[in-house]
Amino acid sequence: MSAREEAETRRDARNTWLLSAPALVILTLAAAGPLLIMLVYSFLTPGDYGNVVWKFSTDAWVGTILSKDIFDGTYSLADAHLTIFWRSVKLSLITTLFTFIVGFPTAWFIATRTARTRTALLFLITIPFWTNLLIRTFAINQIIRNEGILNTFLIYLGVIDTPLVIIYSDFAVFLGMTYVYLPLMVLPLFAAIDRFDMKLLEAAYDLYATRLQVLRKVVFPIVRPGIVAGSILVFIPSLGAYVTPRILGGGRNMMIGNFIELQFGQGRNWPLGAALSVLLLLIVAAALVVYIRATSRETSNG
């Protein structure tokens, strides 16, 4: 490596830190930094009525995996936690996949319109989200409830004769999350698709035999950053979703977000809530690192 290259690398590194500094300061003060409190709390003892007592304990961490039978004091695998964790992962994966399946054609459709239509369509996709999440979720509830318009419509069409019970199910939560997180998939996809020249693509089409090949060999490599951004923005927030499962899931099917909330609320076990969150943070961070490494390697090879 020449001296000049070395100097450039050093300058790059310095710029990276300088440009990221304001964001890092805000995050340290108002997000990541205070989370250290949670790390500390996960090693303390629960207070009698919420909060913590400053006495060291590893009970919370043991409690994330093992649950102690309150009556005979024996330990067993915490299957409740596993059930909840699995439900969250499953629903979030399905949500991410489905938002991609419908989001990709939508983003594509928008990106291939004329400049003016494109702006209008982008506005159209975000307008519903200027309405508050809670009120939107209530409105979804209105549509899918037993006597809601979806069932009324299907019965009118003669597709079904008794109402479909969608409300208060995992399916309802999935529908709600798909609705809520869709723009988080569409906008990054659009940003990625929009920046390449469609003429290039049409030229590329002459080189390959089928549409599928064009998609696989030309389109996907280019929009990959958009897919990465979109799936992170959808998957991770849905993993910790709180409002949607609470309103559409009917409280019987908790997701991780609700379960952790329970520990800080009526459950009054802040250390367990803290330990569960730190654990979740570690799992997500690890997955993210693997994901980023894998995708950036593919990009640099391709």
């Binding site: 009917g250 019987r252 009526q266 009054r268």
Partner: protein, 341 residues
């Protein structure tokens, strides 16, 4: 530029700048405070009242305990009063500033959770009972078996309100125990009964005024005032008082230790103990108040509502919930977590 800075300073400074006339910061349950009553108070005293909402006792206490919140008055449920006192979060009231204190109805004057009523003033009270839609089930509704062992017609159509203390107490009474018990045999029985009943429930949710009225839910463990409002929309909804035992509750206004507007707070407390003003609170949120003599000012439909005025025969099975010991609380939460998984 200077104006922009001033605007930003004003914006960020928030309420601190507007306190010339006297102000009061009330921290209360959402949609629970009559705007007319607040307006009347502001007009009479010139004190500017700001209401901030919470949605659970736990959140309210967590925020108050953390400090730096800026609230003067808070309105938690009765079983929380001893906890607030023990943690030193609230201060004793100056009764000399509360001439209306004598208006508190005799039955509420001596409360087990605040002996002598030195800390708290009644806001509203009610019961947690069982609402049933008559068209779905027309048997006996004055029993907890509606949700602990739902009749055929109601299987899969029952909602249970996600309030741990209420549900655990109902379940313990149902199996023959007492709330806050540390008797493991009793607790086991309650847990087993709840776990067996859970698959027959539709949901554990709030918002039953709408859902009962709209026939989305056919039965629910819920609060009387909300069911009263549901019945006004849908006459098929009836409210039952479980004979095995059901919880009574009362939300209490209390003065925080770090309140800045202590005088204004006392004026407000005195104001709401006036029968006419207490009735304004009740007619807005639709629960009974604890002030003697407020009846003449109450709306007609409330005075005759079986949900609000508890009939003689049901009175003996209603009980205020005690504040559980930490041990009992631990049992509660373990069972509750298992139930909600």
């Amino acid at each position: 530029m200077k104006t922009t800075l001033t605007a930003i300073a004003l914006l960020l400074g928030g309420t601190a700048l507007a306190s010339a006339e006297g102000e009061l910061q009330l921290f209360n349950w959402g949609d629970y405070t009559s705007p007319e009553m607040i307006k009347k108070f502001e007009d009479e005293t010139g004190i500017n009242v700001t209401i901030t909402d919470y949605d659970s006792n736990d959140t309210a206490m967590a925020k108050i305990e953390a400090g730096g919140h800026g609230f003067d008055l808070v309105v938690p449920s009765n079983s929380w009063v001893p906890i607030f006192i023990e943690k030193g979060l609230i201060q004793e009231l100056d009764l000399s500033k509360l001439p209306n204190h004598g208006n508190i109805a005799q039955q509420w004057l001596e409360s087990p959770y605040d002996p002598g009523r030195k800390y708290s003033v009644p806001w509203q009270w009610g019961s947690t009972g069982i609402a049933v839609n008559k068209t779905a089930y027309d048997g006996d509704i004055n029993t907890s078996s509606i949700f602990m062992d739902p009749p055929e017609e109601l299987v899969g159509k029952v909602n249970v309100t996600p309030e741990m203390n209420d549900v655990m107490s109902l379940a313990l009474w149902y199996v023959g125990g007492e709330p806050c018990t540390e008797d493991t045999e009793m607790l086991k029985k309650a847990r087993d009964a709840l776990m067996e009943a859970k698959p027959k429930w539709q949901s554990m949710d709030y918002g039953m005024t709408e859902k009962m009225a709209a026939n989305d839910v056919m039965a629910s463990v819920y609060w009387n005032g909300a069911i009263f409002r549901a019945r006004l929309k849908n006459p098929d909804v009836v409210y039952g008082y479980p004979k095995e035992g059901y919880p009574l509750w009362m939300d209490q206004v209390m003065l925080l230790s770090d309140a800045k507007n202590v005088d204004e707070a006392h004026q407000f407390l005195n104001f709401i103990m006036d029968p006419e003003n207490a009735a304004m609170i009740s007619s807005f949120a639709r629960y009974a108040n604890g002030i003697a003599g407020s009846e003449p000012f109450m709306p007609e439909d409330m005075m005759t509502a079986p949900e609000i005025v508890v009939a003689e025969e049901f009175q003996s099975s209603g009980h205020f919930l005690p504040t559980c010991s930490p041990k009992a609380q631990e049992y509660y939460t373990a069972i509750w977590t298992e139930l909600q998984k």
